[in-house]
Point group: C2
Chain length 282, copies 2
DNA sequence: AGGAGCGATACCTCACGGGTATCGACGGTG
DNA sequence: CACCGTCGATACCCGTGAGGTATCGCTCCT
């Protein structure tokens, strides 16, 4: 099986629509149809069920989608890591740390400062990912180490170490009725209809449907909160970066959030090991 | 990057010789040369250093070799698992267990018997791998679960559970001088020059160089031992299957061998979970 | 009944993957 | 020191197949 065929299949399996998948792949629909049926012929198995109205996955298709994503990530990781190894030979070596845009700034700053004075420290590039995308950055080799948040991020195929656990707060516009409370419960938030949740972009740049505003950064969200256009639920530690026209109220029954440092298994980078050690000492 | 290019690169990186790699890939050397340099151009990085006398890996090449093997295994795993999911839809479902040819027969028999009476048990196909190849069978999707042996098999990217730990014995022809001893040490075996270690085939079917006989199965080895042509070091439990014209003598300072059951992370198969549970109860 | 939506089919084109022949650079050897 | 053997790169040719456009056939909605 060629990776091209697998990319095509994953696109169709995700979109469940040949036309849209072809568009996403930047090609016409007929060759895509043909490539998929050729793949099915080569595998000797049906992957998709085409009823004229909808495309659905067969059992084998579901398996190939799940395993295929892993394989494509591994392909991309191989390419990225080789690229980075090459540039490390020319320039100075460095590692890439992935974190959620705007999260845990304080912890991260402490970590980077502490690591910078470690003997043998290398440059650390920080990339900001959309929520839930840090793990993928690790799996595709765009990052060497990541800060992520249990239980939101999948970590089943990564090595992790816990850093800290904290509760969550609701961030609301100053003057909102709920800001008079000292604590909130999830049901209180569910009852809030005038402040829809913001919508973050998907990896491909498109936005999910919904009533909330489209956002790209945390500062943007805070601005929208202070304008009374949205609200946000975030870990306690975000309070240190809040503007004074927004109010944070603890949500007592929100899930505890554990901040963890994660890295790909098999990582044999000295710098990553040092950085993790530094993180654990904090 | 296409998987074809990666396969080509891995072949060259492993052979460190374009001609042999091309032969292994079943193609001519010039297109292979071209494909590799095209890959290097696309990555924007040199992967190989060609001195007219030898081909060596650059730093980036070494990274791409390591990561590329993982990625190619993942590609193959996706294909195999999809194939098996398809055939499971038609026929009855089954799982594949990989084990080393001829090892732990007793334990395995007990395990299969115990699992067979478990509610919801499915057919278990057993495949026999060359030494050290069970892990690869898991990683490439040819097997769902494997019996392997620490510390010989790599398990860093697999989930494992220990089953049992035992010492090792040297299996010698009856009448050999060392069979008068009740215990042996590794240095005793190293001093044995008349009985070379057997040579097992590599995954590609070729044999490593050496003085020992080429073998494909354990019975074959036992036959050769009884003929006084070779010797073997194996876990204690192999004693139960020995012919009476060979003698097993404990090797007191040989590494302890732990038999483990292993499966790919992310495996969400009910049958695999049941089999592992059964194994742990033994 | 008509039209819109969507995947499959038919057919064409050309880029590229793969083959053969050959070159060029080096190293061992008589 | 000239010769040859080895090995990767280059030049050139050819056929396959990936991708494009046009169109069909089926289904559902109005």
């Amino acid at each position: 099986m060629e990776s091209r065929e697998l990319r095509y299949f994953v696109a169709v399996a995700e979109e469940l629509h040949f036309g849209r998948a072809a568009q996403r792949l930047g090609m016409a629909q007929p060759p895509l149809s043909r490539a998929i049926s050729q793949l099915e012929r080569r595998l000797g198995a049906d992957l998709l069920v085409r009823t004229h109205r909808a495309v659905t996955l067969t059992e084998a298709g579901a398996v190939l989608l799940q395993e295929g994503r892993v394989a494509l990530d591994a392909m991309e990781a191989a390419e990225q890591r080789a690229r980075r190894a090459a540039s490390a030979t020319d320039d100075e070596p460095s590692i890439v740390l992935a974190t959620k845009a705007g999260a845990s700034t304080e912890l991260l700053a402490k970590l980077l400062d502490a690591y910078a004075v470690t003997p043998g420290a290398v440059r650390v590039d920080v990339i900001l990912c959309g929520p839930g995308e840090q793990g993928r950055a690790l799996r595709t080799g765009r990052a060497d180490v990541a800060i992520l948040h249990q239980p939101f991020d999948r970590t089943d195929d990564l090595d992790v170490e816990d850093l800290c656990t904290e509760g969550q707060v609701a961030v609301l516009p100053a003057g909102h009725p709920l800001t008079t409370r000292t604590t909130l419960r999830l049901e209180d938030l569910a009852a809030v209809t005038d402040l829809p949740e913001p919508r973050w972009p998907r990896p491909d740049g498109s936005y999910p449907a919904g009533p909330g505003p489209e956002v790209q950064s945390h500062t943007q969200v805070l601005q929208l909160v202070s304008l009374g256009r949205t609200m946000m639920v975030a870990p306690d530690s975000c309070r240190s970066q809040l503007r004074d026209d927004v109010v944070a109220v603890p949500v007592v029954d929100a899930q505890q959030v554990t901040t963890v440092v994660a890295w790909p298994p098999l990582s044999r980078s000295r710098a990553v090991a040092d950085l993790v050690q530094t993180a654990l000492r904090l």
